[in-house]
Subunit: 146 residues, 3 copies
């Protein structure tokens, strides 16, 4: 594959989301220092526990997000997937900062991540089904020759 | 890479497993509502804690599963990897529903996921070793010209 | 893509890291048996809690590591990424065995994983930016025709 055929938009968004996860992990470390919660403890004042759980929730969703981002980009549309990925990243950061302040504060960012995930998953599923039909049943629903 | 060269079976199984993870996360949310366990709390009645841990275990294994699935499919055999992935997904769902009922109930699904992972990992390792020998030492153990 | 064009070094390191995660999960199971901590419990003697958290930390970083490894290898340099990945794997194992012994024991391995991640992320980011400039703005900073 030549350089210009590589899905560089997907790679850029994927790397950006990985850097955000690293930065959120760092901020859990800062919260540990601020509240003097030494590992392996994971309980403490509510603010620490919310920050800890905000990161954990990001960790739980991160691999699912990667699968949805890449299948959407490779079997649907790369630009659309990159856009969905950026919305997800914004929502994930809103979730983290909101949750650190209050339990209710996590909700706007959470809904934004869910919307982005569902839109990308739907696009990915459509692209994969069309590709399965084309490859294994030789059915082209959308003619590519137009 | 043209459409028909893309590993669409792998993508289909990968996306399906991501959707299952999302659905299991949703069911942890429903269990929170049923038992009135508000975030960031992660402790409560045994049934809630089992459901929570069932999802966490899925989260822990999910990225490992993705690596094994894709390396098995790209360096071993795509159809075999897709089949192993479907067995893993079935085992993962048995694990979740079984664990929600009782701690012992998680075991049948757990063993099924381990068998699928080991079979895929062995296929992947074999394919990768053959590919390393071919690419860097120019040794072809199985002649491809037959 | 022909066999020799596939990024088999990346696949080898990626699969190796996945096997390490599986082996660390197995050792958490052994620690459960040793200390008689039955699922879904995740609390117990300090040694068990440190072992449990050592694995959890590996789980948290694993998907981020995969993204950084593959983007570094595909958009930067494959051999460099594979080397960075091996350093990460060594650090991750030092972290696990060190943390199981004492909370301070996790630090040397931790710093090693962070160094490996930062080096790979920097290489990946550089490669992706050059690739974006090339593909969308037709700017080649390093002429490839030399």
């Amino acid at each position: 594959m030549t350089t210009t055929e590589q899905p560089v938009l997907l790679a850029a968004v994927s790397l950006l989301s990985a850097l955000l996860m690293g930065f959120q992990a760092r901020r859990v470390g800062w919260s540990r220092m601020k509240h003097k919660i030494m590992p392996p403890a994971v309980t403490g004042p509510p603010e620490f526990e919310r920050t800890f759980r905000a990161h954990q929730n990001g960790v739980e969703f991160f691999p699912t997000f990667q699968v949805v981002l890449w299948t959407c980009g490779l079997f649907g549309n790369e630009a659309l997937a990159a856009l969905g990925g950026l919305v997800y990243i914004a929502g994930r950061e809103m979730y983290f900062t909101g949750y650190a302040k209050s339990a209710r504060g996590r909700l706007p960012g959470f809904y934004l991540t869910i919307c982005a995930l569902l839109a990308m998953a739907l696009t990915a599923a459509t692209g994969i089904i069309l590709s399965l039909l084309d490859k294994y049943l030789n059915i082209q629903i959308f003619s590519r020759s137009i």
